[in-house]
């Protein structure tokens, strides 16, 4: 990675955020492109073709969702959202609109960098498809539709498997309730979050060492679930 420093576009209207994010990303080995509002962000996105984007949803000139939708029209790379904890719906909407993940303000730099790494790695994985995902003693074969835990085949119902596959494809990023429900149960069931609770519970029973303290399928309260492989 030393030859090619991944380029990250940071779109935020707060100078104080740029002030530490710039040096931190630089020290972490990224090339930083700075934009102070939505319009500048979209311009830089088109001109510099960054490898990833960090986007603050609270921009002065346009709604964060609007900026996201416009970006997604021509940009396919990972987009990380900066949002406040109390802006629950804003965050979920952004994820549903195609943001890859989010970090809540205020955040430590380590958290942001970890999320950024996951998002970037996931893109690489998708390009060079890896059909078998390993996580501890779990082995999930996305082509053969087979799950093996500690050498034993785990029996999953078709819905359980679909849900797990969808979570695993997230590659460590959060997948929203809406995305999971639409993919597994169909668009008519986007409100039926209770289904998810039941099926995630069943999956944890079958896959987690301690289903009461899950380490593979993590809950993001009010937002969705995240599959963690390391």
């Amino acid at each position: 990675m030393s030859a090619h420093r991944p380029r990250v576009l940071v779109v935020d209207d707060e100078p104080q955020i740029h002030r530490f994010l710039g040096p931190a990303l630089d020290a972490a080995g990224y090339e930083v492109v700075r934009a102070d509002d939505g319009a500048a962000g979209l311009r830089e996105l088109a001109r510099k073709a960054p490898d990833a984007v960090v986007l603050d949803l609270g921009l002065p000139d346009m709604d964060g969702k609007e900026a996201l939708a416009k970006a997604r029209a021509f940009y396919d790379g990972p987009i990380l959202i900066l949002s406040a904890r109390d802006r629950e719906t804003e965050k979920i909407d952004a994820l549903d609109l195609g943001a890859d993940d989010y970090v809540e303000k205020p955040f430590g730099i380590g958290e942001l960098l970890a999320r950024l790494r996951v998002a970037l790695r996931h893109r690489v994985q998708r390009e060079g498809v890896s059909p078998v995902v390993r996580a501890g003693d779990l082995e999930i074969d996305l082509v053969g539709r087979r799950v093996v835990r500690a050498g034993q085949v785990v029996r999953l119902s078709p819905k359980e498997y679909d849900l797990l596959a969808r979570l695993v494809e997230g590659g460590g990023k959060v997948t929203t309730h809406r995305q999971l429900l639409t993919a597994v149960w169909g668009p008519a069931h986007v409100e039926d979050v209770a289904y998810l609770r039941v099926f995630v519970g069943q999956l944890r029973q079958k896959l987690e060492a301690d289903p009461a303290a899950p380490r593979r399928i993590l809950t993001e309260p009010g937002v969705g679930y995240r599959f963690v492989s390391e």
Partner: protein, 508 residues
């Protein structure tokens, strides 16, 4: 209050209708006697037909004066007397002449007709007058009742009106935490006897009227939506019943309205407190999070990459942390100030203060937030001292200066002045910022009101000016703003602090 007096008089009139009626009949007979005497005296100059006219006058006067009954009596008496004393044969009830029979019959018919008609007119007029009286009294009562702003005022007004209308002692009881309390009635009547209280309580619970066993007749006051209270009457005349009922109905509605209004006022106060709380939370979540993000982000960056960073970058991150910590401290101060103002816990500690010194101290505290903006002073050489709280005044002035610095461009002038007129020390702070739109002038002191983002973004909760006004007013001063000041730009804040003359002792 003219109305209760009138009501009292009418009530007194109505209390002795029998005596009045008998008086009318007696007077009618007296009039006939008078007419007889007059006819006797006029007999030498008038003939029989014209003498009859004298009696007709008596009948007419009785009718107009005392109504239908006395008029008919007068007609009868006049006919008898006329026949007896003036128709031949005289001093006999016989009628000798056939023509006289006709005269007598016509006389009696005319007397009856006149008496009946005039009596009817009079009675109608009396009924109308009484109705007008009742309506007038009710209107007046309704006006007094609806002017009542609180349930207690309504209760007092109702008790006064009902006492006047009924001639009975009236008390109004309203529900309280432990049963009923007397909210309106004659002064000095603070408490009912245990029996009376129990009777009132039963009426409150059942809604039925009590008997007068305890000396009081209690009735429920039924509003449009629910029972609102109980009224107690003592010594109510039976014929005042209808009038009092109408009044009590009205009173119940007025009481209900007052209760609803006071509940609404309470709700409004709660709603405003709620609004402030949510504005506060909103502000905390938004305005606190940015500096917090910056502090946390910079600190973790230093922890993570400290040795990899260039010394200049390290220093910049540390400065950024210090700046934002200061900013947060200022926000916390603002919130505390606002909280003190809202809670009414502000106790100015007044001492004799030189406004110029406080202005200078505020400029000093503004420090680097002033940037390259220039402070221009225009102070009176001699300035009266004011008795005020220098700490609060300094904070108020600092908030205004801070506002000026946030909006005025770098390099512009901020003029501070201190002068006095006969009654006040006047402080003005004038900036060359963009000014305040006319339609927003009266809102600049509102809480969390930021008309536009300041030029140095992210500064302030929108509480500064609101706090400034709160402090100034707590010290008995006034604050106003004018904008634009010149060339469609700039704003001028004017503060007037009332002067007081210090005693020699206080100055030493």
């Amino acid at each position: 209050m003219p109305t209760p007096v009138r009501l009292l008089q009418t009530a007194a009139d109505r209390r002795r209708p029998g005596a009045r009626a008998i008086g009318g009949y007696v007077a009618a007979l007296a009039l006939v006697a008078l007419a007889t005497a007059a006819a006797r005296a006029l007999e030498p100059v008038l003939d029989g037909g014209n003498l009859a006219m004298v009696f007709q006058v008596a009948v007419l006067v009785s009718a107009v004066g005392f109504g239908l009954g006395p008029a008919l009596l007068a007609a009868l008496a006049a006919a008898v007397v006329y026949n007896f004393a003036f128709l031949s044969p005289r001093y006999s009830f016989e009628i000798g002449h056939p023509a006289d029979l006709l005269t007598f019959s016509m006389f009696f018919a005319v007397a009856l007709a006149t008496g009946w008609l005039a009596g009817r007119v009079r009675d109608n007029a009396r009924v109308s007058a009484r109705q007008a009286d009742t309506v007038g009294a009710l209107l007046e009562a309704s006006r007094t009742l609806s002017a009542a702003a609180t349930p207690d005022q309504a209760a007092q007004a109702l008790a006064a009106q009902a006492t006047a209308a009924a001639g009975a002692i009236t008390i109004v009881l309203l529900p309280a935490e432990d049963g009923l309390r007397i909210a309106g009635g004659p002064t000095g009547l603070e408490k009912l006897s245990p029996d009376g209280a129990a009777a009132a309580r039963r009426v409150w619970e059942s809604g039925e009227t009590s008997d007068a066993e305890t000396g009081w007749t209690f009735r429920a006051l039924q509003g449009l939506r629910e029972r609102v209270g109980v009224v107690g009457l003592r010594g109510l005349a039976p014929d005042a019943e209808g009038r009092v009922s109408a009044l009590l109905e009205q009173g119940a509605v007025a009481l209900e309205r007052a209760q609803l209004a006071s509940a609404a006022a309470e709700n409004e106060a709660l709603r405003r407190a709620d609004q402030l709380r949510s504005a506060l939370l909103n502000s905390i979540s938004h305005d606190f999070r940015t500096p917090l993000s910056s502090v946390l982000g910079s600190a973790t960056t230093l922890l993570e990459f400290g040795t990899d960073l260039k010394p200049a970058v390290r220093r910049d991150l540390l400065e950024s942390i210090a700046e934002d910590a200061r900013r947060l401290n200022r926000y916390v101060g603002e919130l505390l100030d606002m909280g003190r103002l809202e809670a009414g816990a502000l106790r100015p500690r007044r001492s004799w203060t030189d406004a110029r010194e406080v202005l200078n101290a505020a400029v000093e505290r503004l420090g680097e937030r002033l940037g390259r903006r220039k402070i221009v002073r225009d102070f009176a050489r001699d300035l009266s001292k004011v008795r005020t709280d220098p700490v609060l005044l300094e904070q108020a002035l600092l908030n205004i200066l801070d506002n000026a610095a946030a909006y005025a461009p770098e390099g512009s002038r901020i003029e501070i002045a201190a002068h006095e007129d006969l009654a006040n020390v006047l402080i003005t702070i004038e900036d060359e910022g963009p000014g305040i739109p006319a339609d927003a002038l009266d809102r600049v002191f509102d809480k969390f009101r930021r008309l536009q983002a300041p030029s140095d973004r992210g500064e302030g909760l929108g509480l500064g000016l609101s706090i400034a006004r709160g402090f100034i007013e707590a010290m008995g001063g006034r604050i106003a703003v004018a904008s634009p000041v010149a060339d469609g730009r700039g704003s001028r804040f004017l503060i007037a602090l009332p002067k007081a003359v210090p005693t020699a002792k206080e100055l030493l």
